[in-house]
Each structure stands twice: as structure tokens, then as C-alpha cells.
Amino acid sequence: MTVEKSDGKILKIFLVIVALVFVGALAYILFFSGSLHTPSFFADNLEPSADVKQLDSQIQSTGPENTSETRFAVLHDFDEFIKAKFKDLTTPQDYQEVYMLLKTRIDRAIKEINETSVPPGELKLWYIYNMGIIAKTSDATIGFDLAGSYVYPSLANLGGYVDMLLISHIHGDHFDKNVIMKAKEHGATIIIPDGKVRVDHFGLTPFIVKDPNGMDMLDAIKQLGIDTSGLTAIKPNETINVKGVSVTAFSGEHRSPDESTVKSLYDTPVDWYYVNLSGFGLLHTGDGFLFDNVPDFSAKRVDVLIIHYSDELTCEALYKMIPNAKVMLPFHLHELGHGREMVLDGGMFKNALDQYDHGYLKLTYVQPNPTLMRYVPMIWGESLDLGNATQ
């Protein structure tokens, strides 16, 4: 009888311990998991399929400067590949081949960025993913909106190759804590937009939204469980000079897909960054579009205008705002985190190619048609020599 009682007691203690561990683990996941890495679904030694190899070799055979019909066909084939191979990001089977293509192209880009030394007076750009781009000169290497480790975890390593990382706003497809961690390890300057904000939630997803009575941006990011050491928040219209690179922030409004309640969650501080890198002017628009007071870029040298492609109206508005830009790069395409429907609906080259005319921006109601502005859609991991592009 005593033995049975003691067994019962031990059993109870065991079950209490299991319950405590369970509750503790759930609490950790809900409140303290902000700094955890996204694990990769795929083995490191996974080989690309024949389809991936073929498309990659087609892409390699035509650079972004190429304005021939072959290039047009490659961009079309890339769209078709995404359409056929990308179901979702839910399970490995849903996007294995898209992952392999991204991996193949990003691994090659990382190698190139590491090995390329850019001669003085030149600028080389690598398109990474979504709005992510790396610009390298003989003086410095900078990155804008490097994100996407949720699709390909090793993309985070790019943070280790930049001297400066500029983040337009705190949304997952632009602000990637894994990239930031690598950039910090490398000693990079990391710039984010400043502003008064609060943290709202949509389901389990936290959103940083504008709030004049709220807290500072860095405090809000801390609330997401992310270490903010090494992050520099810059105010609208503020210019800073770091390591010979000059950065000016222009505060815009985040574009909203509709007028529903979700709108308020998207209403986050978002910056355009105008960067002077070794004499080259780069303007990155993040997801910012509307301005209360439209900034004047007429006196600024804009060699590269990097935009969130949405539709012709957006292109036209941006063209009119910065007509002196030499090259427009239409990005924010094929962003897999937005889901298959949104990618196929408006996030494909086929949409952006409506404004493409043999390498120049074509706008229905703007003369000359096409305009004199170069228009260069780019594929993950491709590079562009600015010297060639602006000739």
C-alpha cells in the first residue's frame, strides 16, 4: 500500500513537471522567441533539378543590360518557372525548386560580391531578393533592404559583406533579423527609420505602426525581442555621413493594399534613402510612395532609382518626381512571402514588362515614348555595371 502511494506521488510529480515544462516552453515561444533563427527545410547537399539548372544557365547567358528578345524570353521563362514551381512556403514540397534556384543564384552572387574588386569611378550592383540590392564601389559596399532568409536561410550571410545596411521599414520582407545579426558581426552601420510608434498585433504577427504619442522606434523593435545594439535610427530629412557614405532619409507613407482595418497595421514609418556612394547617387524607395511634402530631387544626381514596382501609374508618378534618374530598377517582384496569389496577381515580370521597351521606360501618357530613362528588370543574383547601364 505504501509503495503504491509513493508510486502515485512520483507519477503526480512527473506529470506536474511535464505540465510546467510545456507551459514554460509555450510562454518562451510566445514572448521570448523574437531572436530565434528560421531553420532551413532543405539539406545542404541538395542538388538542383534539371529545370533549375537549365533556367539558371539561360539567365547567365543574358545579363540585365541585354535588351534583345532573348532577354525578354528569359524574364518570361522566369515568371513561368515561378508559376509552375511555387505553391506556397508551407512545406518543403511546395517550393523546393524555387528554393534551389534562389540558392544557386544567391550563392553565386555572394561569391562574386566577395571576389569582385570594383575599380575607382565605377559602381557595381547586385540584385538580391525583393527590394534587396547591394552596391559596391572601390570605397564601400552597401546593402538596401537585404531580406529573404525565411526562404533561403544562408541569404543572411550577405549581412557579412556590407559596410552599411539601410532598412527602409520594419516589415519582414525588408527587415531581416538574421541579416542584421550578420551585419552586426561584420561591424556594419545599420540604418533604420526613426519615428514615434507603437506595437500592434495582427494575430500573432506584431506590426510597428505610427503613433505620435507612442515610443521611439528602437524601443518598439526591442519589444519584438530583437537586440537593437548597433542600429541607428535616422529622422526624416536627416543626413548622416558614415565611412565616406552620405545618407539622407525622406519619410514617405507605406503603400496600403486596401482601405480595410489592416491599413493601420501597414501604416509604419518608411524611408526613401538617397545615398551618395563614391559620387554615385542611389535612391531606394522601399515601400514608400506618398509624401505630405514631395521632396525635391531635381538638384540631386540620381544614377539609380530603385522602386517597388506596382503598376504603370506608380512608375509614371516616380518618373515625374525624379525625371533626372538615369536608370529605374523595378523591384519587389516574386516575393514569395506574400503567397502564391499575390505573386501571380501583380508581382511578376509580366506586369513590370508592360513598361519595358528595349531597355527603356515606356509610359502611355508621357512623351517621349519610350522615355530616355533606362528601365532594367533584374533576376535574383544578377549584377549590373552602372557604367554600362548609363551609357
Partner: protein, 146 residues
């Protein structure tokens, strides 16, 4: 076999399962690969055996034991998922916008396991009450008394 031993055995089984997932021997939880199905069949067999073993305590108590096994299992998987996120090895094998979203598949696994393991344990007890020699003898003795 004592009840506690069974629960400890299940901790070991689920720890081994998640260890094998981290080691790449088994695929993540969401995968229905042949190896994962085989492992699930093995776990199901042990749950049925537990039901068979405790059939004397009655169907209701056996059902509770099945639910406790599910709870023990999901606790181990929850801890392993956190470790997996920390070391970059997927345990659940589903894309999540952030680690906080882990609670959703974990609750799903928990609910599914409670239903499944309860039914399997009850099945084991039910079969034992009809075919286990000690249970048959007990039934015969009970009916003789009447």
C-alpha cells in the same frame, strides 16, 4: 509495467524521434515519408500495448492515459522545436512567419494526438478485455459469482 515507466518510455520515444529528425534520419513532423509513417506505426503499437497492459483499470482510465501520452509527446516536441529553431534544424517542417507561430502547429499536433492516442489506448484495452487470458479469466470469475 508501471504507469510512470510507460510515460518515461514515451518521453524517450519522442525524444528519439525529434533527435532523429535533427540528425536528418527522419523527415520533419509534417512530412508523410515512409520512414515517418513507420515510426508513427511503432508509436501507435506502443500506445495500443499500453491500453492492453492497463485494461484492468477500465476503459475510461485507459483513455486518460492515452491523452497523457499525447501531452507528454507534444511537450517533448515543443521543447525540441525550440531547440531546432535555436540550432537551425526544422522539427515541425512547416513555414512560419515567425517563431511565435509555432504554437499553432503544436496545438494542432496536441489536439490530433489526444484524439488519436486516446482512441488507440482504448482500442488496446478493448481488445484486451476480449482476448487477454487474464481478462477472460476475470470475466469468467465475475460471471460465475453472479
Amino acid at each position: 509495467m508501471k504507469e510512470l515507466y510507460f510515460y518515461v518510455l514515451f518521453v524517450a520515444i519522442f525524444a528519439a524521434q525529434t533527435g532523429l529528425i535533427m540528425g536528418g534520419v527522419l523527415d520533419p513532423e509534417s512530412s508523410y515519408s515512409a520512414r515517418n509513417i513507420l515510426f508513427s506505426v511503432f508509436v501507435a503499437a506502443v500506445v495500443i500495448y499500453m491500453g492492453w497492459n492497463f485494461s484492468e483499470s477500465g476503459i475510461k482510465k485507459v483513455a486518460i492515459k492515452g491523452a497523457i501520452v499525447a501531452f507528454v509527446g507534444v511537450t517533448v516536441i515543443t521543447c525540441a522545436s525550440i531547440i531546432g529553431y535555436t540550432i537551425g534544424k526544422p522539427i515541425l517542417g512547416v513555414y512560419l512567419p515567425s517563431a511565435a507561430y509555432m504554437v499553432l502547429p503544436l496545438l494542432y499536433i496536441f489536439l490530433l494526438s489526444v484524439i488519436l492516442y486516446t482512441l488507440l489506448a482504448v482500442l488496446g484495452a478493448w481488445v484486451a478485455q476480449r482476448f487477454k487470458p487474464s481478462q477472460i479469466k476475470k470475466k469468467e470469475a465475475d460471471s460465475a459469482k453472479k
